[in-house]
């Protein structure tokens, strides 16, 4: 401490200064190690559900066991990965599977049998029931469309 107050007594103030700087850098680096060592597990802990959901969205195919008996002009909501999706059985016996996440602000849209359209109640977005194309209201993009196959009485929905 006395060196600091009376620098004229210090034989080599320059080397003292560099030593001081070295200690500062070393203490800073050690502190950074501690912050990182504690921060990394905490970050991974908090991010855990996000990482799990990301691996769930990697899902390529969903098999719906009971869906083949779905009556005409009705729909079935199911989870494709972590996100809601819908399967529609049309009057002409064709099938459509689209994501149910509205492209506007992420509400869950639903099939309306009377209007034969997909409607999002949050802001009145309207999509075509056969293609998922955005036809009215605020949605900027069509709903993501999946491929539908009937295999042995089961409906297989897969990402295109």
């Amino acid at each position: 401490m006395s060196d600091e107050i009376r620098p004229e007594q210090n034989p080599s103030p320059e080397s003292d200064g560099s030593r001081r700087n070295f200690l500062k850098v070393a203490a800073g680096a050690l502190g950074a190690c501690y912050v990182g060592g504690m921060g990394y597990p905490v970050y991974r802990y908090l991010a855990s559900p996000v990482e799990k959901a990301e691996s769930a969205t990697a899902v390529k195919e969903v098999v719906l066991d009971q869906a083949a008996s779905l009556p005409k002009n009705t729909s079935l909501m199911f989870k494709f990965g972590s996100k809601p999706a819908m399967l529609i059985h049309h009057d002409d016996d064709t099938w459509t599977a689209v994501s149910a996440v509205c492209t506007h602000l992420g509400c869950t849209a639903g099939y309306e049998p009377n209007e034969k359209r997909i409607f999002c109640p949050c802001h009145g977005g309207v999509y075509d029931a056969k293609t998922g194309a955005n036809v009215a209201g605020p949605p900027p993009k069509p709903l993501e469309q999946f491929q539908v196959k009937n295999v042995d009485g089961k409906v297989v929905v897969s990402r295109a």
Partner: protein, 366 residues
């Protein structure tokens, strides 16, 4: 010494005028801490505080995934096995709890034998005892939250103790349990106690405890007090003592990290009320002494009488412990001062012997 830098920064001045920062800086630069051959014991309060801060932070992290009620066990299973590093956060919380209670005991006994409870520090002694009892209640309530087998039966035993109080005892036990048996209601109650009620009680008492240390300064032992004032050595609080304190905290952090990582806390099988209690059932180590004493008295006096007598002796000891500032008042120590020291050794011996005894007679885990 030149004035501490308070020029060159308009922001500093703006804040200082409104918040009085320079008063705090002034206090920190002029505050001095006694230094003598017993100074080692001054760090244990700070260590306890450090572990308490760790408890708060790791507790908030556990709160992110823990679900009280019916899902309690499943949520702790997820934290321990599914969530990344969940085992480490949980292990840190459990280890810090034990290390906190341990350092609180060291802090208490060092304050006792240095006679730090004497005038004007009686309220430091009493707030300290309140904090220790609250910390033990934290421990007891937290022990149940995972709802595994050991937690279930340890809590069952613990809650049957107040039931021996004549008259109101069974009612008290039922009210704490939220029913005649430990259930998801009990977990929800203990959860509310553990994360809301106890912190709301603990933090103001802790603030009072810390404020009083600030007001009265650290107590010095008699050997120091006997010296004339100019012979007593002191060091500045800032930076000297603060840096030493920081170094001690760093050691505490390393010990905690090693314990939590190398000896991760176990999760037993889910609680099942229809299974017999596990052979090695026991409470946390800081309840082991009272557990063993109750067991002994239960053997000597069959029925509820044994527990009642054991409980009575423990409470009498606690009352004497609280009242010690009234008996031991004189400096330098007279007859009562020496008696207080012997009483302290007696209490410490009983605690250590019954704790070791309790572990010695514990059957090994299956």
């Amino acid at each position: 010494m030149p004035e501490p830098k308070k020029t060159n920064s308009g922001v500093y001045e703006w804040l200082d005028e409104r918040l009085g920062i320079s008063d705090i800086v002034e206090l920190a630069t002029h505050k001095r801490v006694p230094e003598h051959k017993h100074s080692f014991w001054y760090y244990w309060g700070g260590i306890t505080l450090f572990f308490f801060i760790v408890m708060c932070l790791s507790g908030v992290l556990l709160l992110v995934y823990y679900r009280p009620g019916d899902e309690a066990y499943e949520s702790v299973r997820q934290i321990t096995y599914d969530i990344h590093f969940g085992w480490l956060i949980r292990s840190t919380h459990s280890w810090a709890a034990n290390l906190m209670v341990a350092s609180a005991f060291v802090h208490m006994f060092s304050a006792y034998f240095m006679k730090a409870y004497r005038k004007p520090r009686e309220f430091l002694w009493w707030t300290g005892i309140v904090l220790l009892l609250l910390a033990m209640t934290f421990g007891f309530s937290g022990y149940l939250l995972p709802m595994d087998e050991l937690a279930f039966f340890a809590t069952k035993v613990g809650l049957s103790i107040p039931a021996v109080i004549p008259g109101v005892g069974p009612w008290i036990s039922d009210m704490i349990r939220g029913g005649p048996e430990i259930s998801s209601f009990t977990v929800s109650r203990f959860f509310a106690l553990h994360v809301v009620i106890l912190p709301a009680l603990f933090i103001p008492v802790l603030m009072m405890h810390l404020g009083l240390v600030q007001k009265h300064g650290m107590s010095i032992p008699e050997s120091e007090e006997a010296k004339p004032e100019h012979m007593r050595k002191t060091i500045p609080f800032f930076p000297n003592f603060a840096m030493k304190d920081l170094a001690v905290w760093l050691i505490a952090l390393n010990v905690l990290a090693l314990c939590a990582a190398l000896y991760p806390w176990d999760l037993g099988p889910a609680a099942d009320a229809l299974k017999p209690a596990p052979m090695d059932i026991h409470p946390e180590w800081y309840f082991m002494s009272s557990f063993q004493v109750l067991k002994l008295f239960g053997n000597w006096f069959p029925g509820a009488a044994g527990e009642f007598i054991g409980l009575g002796i423990f409470n009498l000891g606690l009352v004497l412990w609280v009242a010690i500032p009234f008996f031991d008042t004189k400096t330098p120590a007279g007859k009562w001062g020496r008696r207080a020291t012997w009483f302290g050794f007696f209490a410490l011996t009983i605690l250590v012997v019954t704790t070791v005894w309790g572990y010695a007679v514990l059957p090994p885990a299956p």
